[in-house]
Assembly symmetry: D2
């Protein structure tokens, strides 16, 4: 069995998800390359030591610069906050490490392009963490489109709806600060929708957006873990510098019309990452809150039994099902990361770039910036302009 030694930087929400994926991979995909959980790296010694023990890493370190110098590390997994992605990636590439980087690649398009240049110049493997591509139901949608089952695509509409910011006392976490997070709903949630659009429909030709920060000031947090943070009473307030919601219209290169919405103010929606695609021969609907299901409509059905069917993507005919449980036994959020790591391991073995990789990360960033530009200029922006 081949082994890849992993060095991971970051140990919060995504760090836990990635660690679990590496840990479960050999059990469910025993023929894959073995990802050895070698080193976990974080700034705070106590916290990272605890994470190493909990997550099952062999060692921990606090200095990522020393980590990337180690000869016994093959791949750097970056899930630290977005503002440090670029520096780490470029340094890691220069020492010849493969790089897996969480989305969004960087705070700006320019930065993400530099990252792509660096990994390409170094000739290493690079992957970006658009994990929702790896839900079997999403992969079924892709398969149906590629086979032509949906015909010519007319419409793509997508929403990523959450509601964790509706509470005005939710604190000013790092995800609400532009200098660390880059953007708000747009870069966090919208980025996933844009990547799914690229994956399923293809290139976007032009965009036109709007955004809003509904609550402009929030209490400063005293402590922060993953998505949550604590606030003391009478905490001072600071300015929210990112968008609470961003919507945009799009025209795809193939002529399809797109509609996108990312918001953290959709009361009642915990995590509705949803899209619908209408083509000349059929349609599909996906909702991450029911991530094992794909609604599929095919015009070729007999005229008295036409309707959206609820396909549970857990049958032998569906992607990755051989690794899991009998039909009807569902999987969850964390499995998207395991599948992602399967692709990463397979790409390394087959000496090809994994998909999605930094090209996809840059493409996503192009759309994010084009939308922001369209908002600033209050007009349509073609992707060729950014």
């Amino acid at each position: 069995m081949e082994t890849i030694n992993i060095g991971m930087i970051g140990y919060k929400f995504m760090g836990k998800a990635h660690s679990h994926a590496y840990r479960d991979l050999p059990l469910f995909f025993p023929t894959c390359i073995h990802p050895q959980m070698k080193v976990i790296c974080g700034r705070d010694t106590n916290s990272v030591a605890e994470a190493a023990k909990q997550f099952g890493w062999d060692e921990y370190m606090t200095d990522w610069k020393r980590l990337i110098q180690r000869d016994d590390i093959d791949l750097i997994d970056i899930n630290a906050p977005s503002d440090v992605h670029k520096e780490i990636t470029i340094a890691a590439a220069q020492t010849g490490k493969h790089v897996f980087c969480e989305k969004p690649l960087a705070l700006t398009l320019k930065d993400s392009k530099e990252m792509l240049d660096a990994v390409e110049a170094a000739g290493v493997k690079h992957m970006v963490g658009f994990n929702y591509r790896f839900a079997p139901a999403v992969m079924l949608a892709k398969k149906l489109i590629d086979e032509g089952q949906l015909g010519e695509i007319y419409h793509f509409r997508a929403w990523f709806l959450q509601d964790w910011l509706v509470d005005p006392n939710f604190p000013l976490a790092w995800r609400l600060q532009k200098d660390i997070a880059g953007s708000g709903s747009h870069g966090d949630l919208g980025a996933h929708l844009i990547d799914l659009a690229h994956y399923l429909i293809g290139d976007i030709h032009e965009v036109m957006g709007m955004n809003k920060t509904f609550i402009k000031e929030r209490p400063l947090p005293t402590n922060m873990t993953g998505l949550t943070a604590s606030v003391s009473e009478n905490a001072e307030k600071g300015e929210v510098t990112v968008d609470d919601a961003t919507l945009f219209l799009a025209r795809f290169a193939n002529g399809a019309l797109g509609s996108f919405e990312a918001t953290r103010f959709a009361t009642g929606h915990r995590c509705t990452n949803s899209f619908e695609i209408n083509g000349s021969k059929g349609s599909v609907i996906f909702d991450f809150e029911r991530m094992n299901e794909l609604q599929v409509y095919l015009s070729s059905d007999r005229d008295d039994v036409q309707g959206f069917r609820r396909v549970l993507a857990t049958d032998p005919a569906h992607a990755f099902s051989e690794a899991w449980w009998p039909p009807g036994h569902t999987i969850g959020y964390e499995h998207t990361f395991i599948h992602e790591m399967v692709e990463l391991m397979n790409a390394i073995r087959e000496d090809r770039q994994p998909v999605p990789n930094f090209h996809d990360g840059v493409k996503c960033q192009e759309v994010l910036e084009a939308v922001d530009l369209s908002i600033e200029k209050r007009q349509w922006i073609q992707l060729s302009e950014v």
Copy 2:
């Protein structure tokens, strides 16, 4: 245009539904025989006069015995309480009137058989009001079964769930008194399920049931209209003499297994009249609260897109759709009665018995009584025994 003169006895819930059906029929089914709303009949002069005006009847009467003697009446529509069905039916048949009778036909199997004998002897047309057969989605289920699309039938399970008796202060309405209503949930709701089973699956071979009256005493009502009734504070209480819920298992003659449940104590269910059928090649699910929809599963679907499809039975391929609105524009409860009357008018024109008729009413009553007997004896009862 041919015309049939109707004399209707009863003017409450069902009287309103039938009146509306007669009234709408010429608009939506202009080629049908015209049902002339000649006479409405009820015991209370003021009330029936008001009903005549509101519902659009030409005349009103208070003595049904005189009504059935009139030469200008062709068809008697009986929707008075169940305890008078028999007497009116037999008398009407003897004067040569066609008879439409609401379900259940009678309080007992014996009575219902006498009614069947009377209408058969008189050679008149007879129909029983199992209106749910006439939901287009139910008719689609029937069509799929008849065509063999579902293959051999293994399972029929059905529930009629309501919750209007959960409130212990709901009064002792006539539907809760055995001498007027015959039975409770069993005869009121279960009868519909049994008829649907006969329609869709076929004859029942044997049954085994249980029932319960959860709330055994209720306040006596001061006034009663349709399903509702008013109660004065400190009202005296009387005994509930019918079942609140009846469940039974069944074996069909064709080998299928059946499960039936009728209850007025299913909190949260206003009117869940629902069935599911599983066959060797496919399955269907119906729920009256979404009466325009049939969930259809077909094993012949490609193996990666198998799932229950939500068919909206409003397409040109579906029954009665040509009379209504464009696809996707739904119809409601009252339309089942209009379709019922279309069958009645068509049968009269074509000089055949409508379906369902008193044979179906008697068959339903047989099952109702077999279930009651199985409850009394605490053992399986074969239909041939009743």
Copy 3:
């Protein structure tokens, strides 16, 4: 009982729906003013004569100009094609008739304003046919918003999705010709969404849209009835001059963000007229294909039972329920028209303008035109600019 004499112009899809509404109104709403179905008017003698008989009108005429001169007519109901709305309305107002006009009021904003001026000058009652306001589930949404149950409104997103034009052989019906229909999906379907937005959320401040005609040529029809039309093989083709789909983003005056989509190319959707509203305290979701239901989320629910509840708007607590059937017994598309006519009759009795009236029709037209302008200019348009 008071009576209003109706003269109706048009007898196709909407003519049937209106006729039925007038006909059913006295049965279900007996205390309303009685709408006497006096005269139906259409260009083709045979067809209108047949419609008069089928729908139940006392008389028919072929010349609407003579109809509006009759002293025995109180109200003109206009459901002829959109290009004649203006001329009839103005003429009818001048003879002092109340006017009910189907949406869209006119082909242009200018025309619709002239119509409003005419009815206002004449001092007659005027109403516009935005029937979806009258679905009880929609009225429940309105009530919850007005009571503040949803709090401050953040998001309104709405889709009207149909699929009857996906077939490239569907003929070039009048609804696809700009000179008769004014616009395509935008004016036909989008107009309903815009009116619901005005009703539920309030004024729109600015819009930015895009549209597309996916299939640019279609066979010329040989015959046309309602929404359907026949096509001969090898029929000549003509140009489609309206939009197949129009999407737009909007900012409401109250700060909410809006997203609208109207399309006839959403394969699998027969009539998905749907909206979702997210507020600071709750959310609602409506889908016309399940028109009796409103999904309601309230943040005030206990923290372990928060979720969208499926409310079946057939309980005594819901609008118009007293006229219909027991809880759980659903109503259909045509009932929206009956409720609409109840409002019309009540407004006449109470000597007030019905709601929605021509002010609402004009407001809708303003948004339609602003969107078209934003598409033409490829930039945001404020409503104050049109």
Copy 4:
């Protein structure tokens, strides 16, 4: 950190699920006792060696009798076929090992009682694998009932519907042979429903059932793995000696009425393990295919917003959520086993019996046998009779 050394017997479907649970437990529940994956045991050397490597066990053995003698093993996990549960359990208890045993405990009630006696006599901890109790949505149902939120319970209806036996060429796997499996749908699927009934509602007083084997002969398999098996063409056939479907009615000790159905012939249902509970104040509905959701109805809701709410049991208020992902990020089938093992580890630390334990296993077996007896005798059987 305390550690428990596990010896596991069996390595197929359940062996994989248990291994994964032990493996993931320290990551997600770091404060639990650590389950050391010491020894995996199976009859075939090569297969068990491979399983040990894939699943992550320190060692493997082929002789379970030697395994239970080892001093360095604290707990025996039994997921071998049902016919060997008894012998292993009794032997393991006698050497003082804690025992976790998959359901059903044994092939007969008598055997299961002997197993209970053995573990009780030995004073060891014992647990039975009713994993569905550990879905957070099911635990929410339990909590609502225990708090009285549903009031007095009137109805419990439950179905476990699968369809993997509809294909007549599915081979005669061990689960279809009475001498190995004990029973068919009844013991495999029905057992879960019965345990959920015990957990949620309480003791059952009497039962009355029916069952059927729809396909009486099946091809003999050439090879068998987990739930699947291969068949050669023209394979000989053998007799199916278990039920394909078993249904039964039940009266609970608290007066509630129960309806149960377990079948492997419900075409279209991959794994619909579903129940509904109706009480005087509220209702809940669960479906394992959407295992993160509980439908909850509460009569105390305001009268205009009553309806079943879809609660996604992933909020901080829900069981085990602190270990997983942010709200709305769902978990899957395998997580029920992790939660099960949390209970097992916690019980050991707290020196109490885990729940569910062998008492629950015996109670389930009592009902299974009472149902079988009622089928044989064609009459009601009280639990006190078995």
